[in-house]
């Protein structure tokens, strides 16, 4: 029985997804594999990202304490999100609720509809706290309302990358900054067995995590397609700005429905980061004017572009595709960071051997596909 464990892992790219992969695999594999981050990506990520309760739990389970980022002012914990101009009511909060109270086995939203109340706000502990500007943590009391929600985070991307890079180094992950010249593939399996760098160094590899935005290995060396799709409703452009007026930090993020899409507002101690998501059909100048209408004090516009689409199979041969090169919906209420966490947790659950057994990989791909569809 040839059941050879994966020993050499190369993570291509240096995005937040790459760092998350490196730390996850180093811990998940109990430091038994050689992990190299091949730092050759120039992807410019958004300055801030949202980490759901699942994202926070995933780090906690790995033994990574994100409190450090909160203490440094680089992350803000929140128990709810505020939606302005989205629904019938102009201003509504949605809590990070795991459960809402039930009445005789009947879910809250039915009771709410029966009461003709129009909002679940009144039933959510997480929302009640957010509305009162209270930062709360789940109490840990079983079946108690104070334990009915999870904490999510707004995180500054660069701070997260630096924090995770520190963790990766401590876990023995190596960094190599160099371009890829070529790869060598096994004649029988077609698996990439080594990566030859521009300086002729050779990296042996059993498993590749391609976290580059352009899919350097997946698309260019394995010649697998990233299938872009044209979705007229997709918010596939974003302009990012800051406010330095130092408004009070809020235990929630705010989303405002606008003429061309939506603005997402994340408040930190040092500044507020604003992101206006819109569709490519909107005129840039109109979008900026609209941005000014909402936040006249904001400045320093940086533009981002998303390629909406996905790869056919996230795992191909011995390469797992992650981050913007794997899948993108443009703006999504389930951000990419959470998606990466889900993929990595599935990878650990169904971790392959060096042969990457076909049923195992098919199942992994299918589960990820189901996830995307949902």
């Amino acid at each position: 029985m040839a059941n050879i464990a994966i020993k050499n892992i190369v993570i291509v790219g240096s995005s937040s997804h790459a760092l998350l992969s490196a730390v996850t695999l180093a811990i998940g594999l109990n430091k038994q594999a050689n992990i190299i981050i091949l730092n050759n990506d120039t992807e410019v990520e958004s300055e801030v990202f949202y980490g759901s309760g699942h994202f926070v739990d995933f780090h906690r389970n790995l033994g990574i304490n994100l409190n450090h980022l909160i203490q440094q002012g680089d992350a803000v914990s929140q128990s709810a999100e505020r939606y302005i101009n989205f629904f019938d009511k102009k201003d509504i909060y949605i809590g990070n609720d795991i459960s809402l109270p039930m009445y005789r086995g009947i879910e809250s939203h039915h009771v709410d509809a029966w009461l003709n109340n129009g909002s679940l706000d009144d039933f959510s502990y997480a929302v009640a706290a957010a509305k009162r500007d209270k930062f709360v943590l789940p109490s840990g009391k079983a079946n108690h309302v104070s334990n009915s929600f999870e904490v999510s985070l707004q995180i500054k991307t660069l701070a997260y990358i630096n924090f995770m890079a520190g963790a990766a180094k401590q876990l023995g992950v190596q960094y190599v900054t160099q371009n890829i010249k070529s790869t060598t593939q096994n004649i029988e399996t077609g698996f990439i067995e080594s990566i030859i760098l521009a300086d002729d160094r050779k990296l042996d590899v059993d498993l590749i995590i391609d976290s580059t935005a352009g899919g350097e290995i997946y698309q260019h060396h394995y010649e697998q397609k990233y299938n872009e799709v044209s979705l007229p409703i997709a918010l596939n452009r974003m302009v990012e700005r800051k406010c330095l007026d130092n408004k009070k930090v809020r235990p929630y993020s705010t989303k405002i429905a606008t003429k061309y899409g939506l603005i997402e507002q994340a408040t930190f101690n040092s500044n507020t980061i604003l992101r206006y998501f819109y569709n490519e059909t909107a005129n840039k100048v109109d979008v900026l004017n609209d941005f000014d209408n909402y936040f006249p004090e904001s400045h320093s516009s940086t533009f981002h572009q998303y390629h909406v689409g996905e790869v056919a199979d996230i795992f191909y041969k011995n390469c797992l595709c992650l981050g913007n090169g794997a899948f993108n919906l443009g703006y999504s209420f389930i951000p990419l960071a959470n998606f990466s966490v889900r993929v990595l947790s599935k990878l650990l659950d169904y971790f392959p051997n060096k042969e990457c057994p076909i049923e195992n990989i098919c199942y992994l791909n299918q589960m990820v596909k189901n996830d995307i569809e949902k």
């Binding site: 059941n3 038994q32 057994p357 049923e359 195992n360």
Partner: protein, 511 residues
């Protein structure tokens, strides 16, 4: 807060009519009465003493505890009323090969460690020549073989504190017990045989006409008429999808016998040449039955095999049943929901009959419609019920398909037949790398390994640890089981304790 009887919502469903008593009928009546206030909706159950019941599911799975818990039924009273014994799993004999014997226990075997399922550790240990049986790491399997019961207080501080168990029950007594519960909660029982079913123009059932000239109308009708499917089949013609190609057993001969010796907290499923035999211990008797495929075996042969394998005196005459594995495409059609045998049938190999009743009841309560035309809920309900049937179907087929027997045409055919695609995928995944499909039914590693299906690969990360480390880890895991076993009472002892509790309860209630 009280429901406003004049509000628009409460006007919509005023009356639910359950047609048929038996286990399905009275479970439905009891659960509905518990969940739907009698001020809001009247619940009627029609049954006829002229029509017998099949009395499904003497052997159950742990979900029944949740059912009882939701209804606020005390275990002490339930055990006494149904002559129940405890069940920790199923012992399968002769399934892989003649002479094989394994247990499919409730709950996990071993402990998920470092994110890797326990059976991978065991597979690695086999390769390294370590001397452990997979069963050594299941408290339920070990306790089952020794006739012990894991008493809750004893295991409170251990990793086994949330262990799973269920019961062997007298299903007829359970129905009777639930009837009393339901009637106390306001369910009206009407004795009568249905002679006609009246329908609205849109096909919805309007009323049922009884032999004694009573006409019972309703907003929702629950068909608990068993195999006859009086409403769902004979009136609404809901299509039945047959799975007989995969599950060709279509007959059973059942008989009750006396019980002797200590109670074993397991159902026994012994494979014969064209099917299998169950043996279920109750407090006062044994339930026995032989499920077989009539294409391969005559009734007489089946009866003889059954009787040859019962050592205690019989207390009833052998009785024959016919059935066909399958499910209705629409278990909820128009304003009628089929619950129990009228919705579909899967043989009792994994004791799922009562679970399927329970699933249908709770799913319907989850989607309880507020008007008569809620097709979205109906579609969703039908899809979910069908899906749970298919999941269990696959698991049952697995038992038949993964065999190495050469002694009968039946077993060779079952091994060589093509299987559903959904099972092929799950089986392929396990056979290749020991991986488990999320949401699959039962403890697959126990059944697959028990029937000699050993995955090609274990999790290769276990190559990172050496033989000594693995040996030490398994030794500790086994010790946890062994230490817990020492403290457990026998099932008989535990039942005696429950009987004492029950008597105290009765004395307390009497003053």
């Amino acid at each position: 807060m009280t429901f406003d009887a004049t509000s628009e919502i409460s006007k919509k469903i005023n009356k639910i009519v359950i047609v048929g008593g038996g286990t399905a009928g009275w479970m439905t009546a009891a659960a509905f009465a518990n969940r739907i206030p009698s001020s809001h909706c009247k619940i009627i159950l029609i049954e006829s003493e002229q029509i017998g019941t099949v009395g499904v599911g003497e052997s159950t799975i742990p979900h029944i505890r949740q059912f009882n818990e939701v209804l606020g039924i005390s275990e002490t009273e339930f055990v006494q009323a149904t002559n129940a014994t405890f069940k920790l799993g199923i012992q399968f004999c002769n399934w892989g090969k003649l002479g094989d014997d394994y247990i499919h226990p409730f709950g996990e075997v071993g402990q998920l460690t470092q994110g890797i399922d326990f059976h991978h550790y065991w597979l690695r240990s086999k390769e390294l020549g370590l001397p452990y049986n997979f069963e050594d790491f299941s408290l339920m399997a070990k306790a089952g073989r020794q006739g012990l019961f894991p008493k809750a207080e004893t295991l409170k501080e251990t990793k086994f504190s949330d262990y799973a168990y269920s019961y062997h029950i007298d299903a007829t007594a359970y129905a009777k017990f639930l009837r009393s519960y339901a009637e106390k909660k306001g369910v009206e029982r009407i004795e009568g045989k249905i002679i006609d079913v009246l329908q609205h123009e849109n096909g919805d059932i309007e009323a049922v006409d009884l032999e004694n000239n009573q006409l019972i109308d309703g907003d929702i009708f629950i068909d608990c008429t068993g195999f006859s499917g009086l409403l769902i089949d004979k009136t609404l013609n809901s299509e039945f999808i047959s799975w007989a190609d995969w599950l060709p057993t279509n007959r059973a001969v059942v008989v009750q016998s006396e019980r002797a010796g200590p109670i074993i907290p397991m159902t026994t499923a012994t494979a014969h040449s064209a099917g299998w035999q169950w043996s279920i211990p109750l407090q006062h008797r044994m339930g026995n039955g032989h499920v077989y495929a009539s294409t391969y075996m005559s009734d007489e042969q089946a009866k003889n095999i059954l009787l040859e394998n019962i050592s205690e005196p019989l207390v009833t005459e052998p009785r024959f049943l016919s059935f066909e594995a399958g499910v209705r495409t629409k278990t909820w059609s128009n304003n009628c929901v089929a619950i129990g045998l009228s919705s579909g049938f899967l043989e009792p190999l994994e004791s799922t009959s009562i679970y399927l009743i329970q699933y249908g009841i709770f799913k319907f309560l989850e989607y309880l419609p507020s008007s008569m035309a809620m097709s979205a809920e109906r579609e969703q309900y039908n899809q979910e019920v069908k899906s749970v049937y298919e999941t269990i179907r696959d698991f049952i087929i697995l038992h038949y398909h993964v065999n190495q027997r050469t002694d009968s045409k039946f077993w060779i055919r079952q091994r060589e037949m093509s299987i559903p695609e959904s099972l092929e995928r799950k089986l392929g995944l396990f056979a290749e790398s020991g991986r488990l499909d999320l949401g699959q039914f039962g403890v697959w590693p126990s059944v697959c390994l028990g029937q000699n299906l050993v995955p090609k690969y274990y999790d290769s990360r276990l190559n990172y640890i050496n033989k000594d480390q693995l040996s030490q880890f398994l030794k500790q895991q086994k010790m946890l089981v062994d230490n817990a076993l020492i403290q457990l009472p026998s099932v008989d002892q535990y039942l005696s304790m429950i009987a004492v509790d029950f008597n105290n309860l009765v004395r307390g209630n009497n003053g």
